[in-house]
Symmetry: C2
Subunit: 243 residues, 2 copies
């Protein structure tokens, strides 16, 4: 799917930022970059040094274009990323809605482009006028300081997030079985027995509610079988050492 | 709400990265930072220089702690951000599910901490063992190169994204009225009249379907009133100049 999502850096200035953008793309598995009229020529050794390794291949394959119309000529739909409000009448998407739109178009066989402006000045109105729509990241209006690679990173993250869908929380038990209910029950029995001997359930009329609360405590803990064995062992050793 | 979300940098190394993390937080309106045992002491002039301006205030107010237990002592729930799988049994969240969990807990009056590790090595098992759960960003397994400020940025972005909810696309018509249907109808009439005169609807038996398609074309365009006036003016001027 990602070969039809093309990130285009328009008149980028610092090679380091171009390299950082390539890294940010590859972090989320995106690798189609285009570059329009980079300030310091192309290829850019500082971009390559910053990208390093696998992200360098993103730069090697990046298309170089003289202007925006040439760079987006084969795209079916183009977004311009810009933080500033413009006098241009154009739909404004969040990263979330933009990625949803892009994914739907790509699934229908279209090619979608995203324009990112030069570091200091951002995209010109002339660039934005050629896009179908605008993407504005909902940054703090009192501190909107996203740099080029960060804007690329957030779009890449949104693509991956929507691609994965609503992943459930992984209980993190790989290689560790959760304890069964009978094991929890027996752990409760063991504690109750040792605590009974130790005179913990006092005064006697409070005993039943204290036991109920303890059963409840064990039951809501996400213990593994190993955890339960550890607790049995601790309890045995403590009571043994006190004899 | 954000005063109960505390981002804790554990043993950060480069001042520049601490400053960049403060900027990334403030980009999404977060301002509660804590710092554990920073390599180059505290306050850190390079961090302040990098943060600059408003993000400098995040550093000024950041709490300095000797170790992780002290830094998270007043938190009700703590996430550890780590890319690597650990031998520790612990639930693993995506940024999306982690932020949903954090928002629910904060809404219930809890304080939630997020631990970020040192730049090169990430969090130690000893740090992770003190967290309730892990956050792993779903990066490309072949190129997982997120830096400290980028990890902070993605969590901040998720907070803002979920806070805003599913924002609709802004049609971008601020200060520009959309054309009414009667204006679109009259635009269609104007074109039809001028094209009729020009002999465009030929052969005559194809005329009705050509007119239908043109009406459909105008109707699906998101024209503003100003767009419609522009088109009327263009059409008048072209036909006038050709007399």
């Amino acid at each position: 799917m990602t070969e039809n999502l093309v990130f285009t850096l328009v008149r980028p200035q610092m090679g380091e930022n171009i390299g950082a953008a390539a890294r940010a793309m590859l972090n989320f598995g995106l690798d189609r970059m285009r570059v329009v009229d980079p300030r310091d020529g192309w290829p850019n050794p500082k971009a390559v040094a910053m990208a390093s390794g696998a992200a360098g291949a993103v730069l090697d394959r990046a298309g170089l274009f003289a202007d925006v119309p040439a760079a987006i000529g084969d795209c079916d739909f183009v977004f311009a990323t810009t933080a500033r409000s413009r006098e241009l009448t154009k739909p404004v998407y969040t990263p979330e809605t933009a990625v949803a739109e892009a994914r739907a178009r790509i699934a229908a066989g279209q090619r979608v482009g995203v324009l990112f402006g030069p570091e200091r000045t951002g995209l010109e109105n002339d660039d934005v006028s050629r896009a179908n729509a605008i993407i504005t990241v909902p940054v703090n209006p009192d501190f909107p300081s996203l740099n080029l690679a960060q804007a690329v990173l957030l779009l890449g993250y949104e693509m991956k997030r929507q691609e994965l869908g609503a992943l459930p929380v992984d209980p993190g038990l790989a290689g560790a079985d959760p304890a069964t209910r009978i094991e929890i029950e027996k752990l409760g029995d063991h504690f109750e027995e040792k605590l009974e001997t130790a005179g913990f359930f006092f005064p006697p009329d409070k005993g039943p509610s204290m036991k109920l609360n303890l059963r409840n405590l064990w039951s809501r803990m996400p213990f593994t079988r190993a955890d339960v064995q550890t607790l049995h062992g601790m309890l045995r050793q403590i009571t043994r050492s006190q004899r």
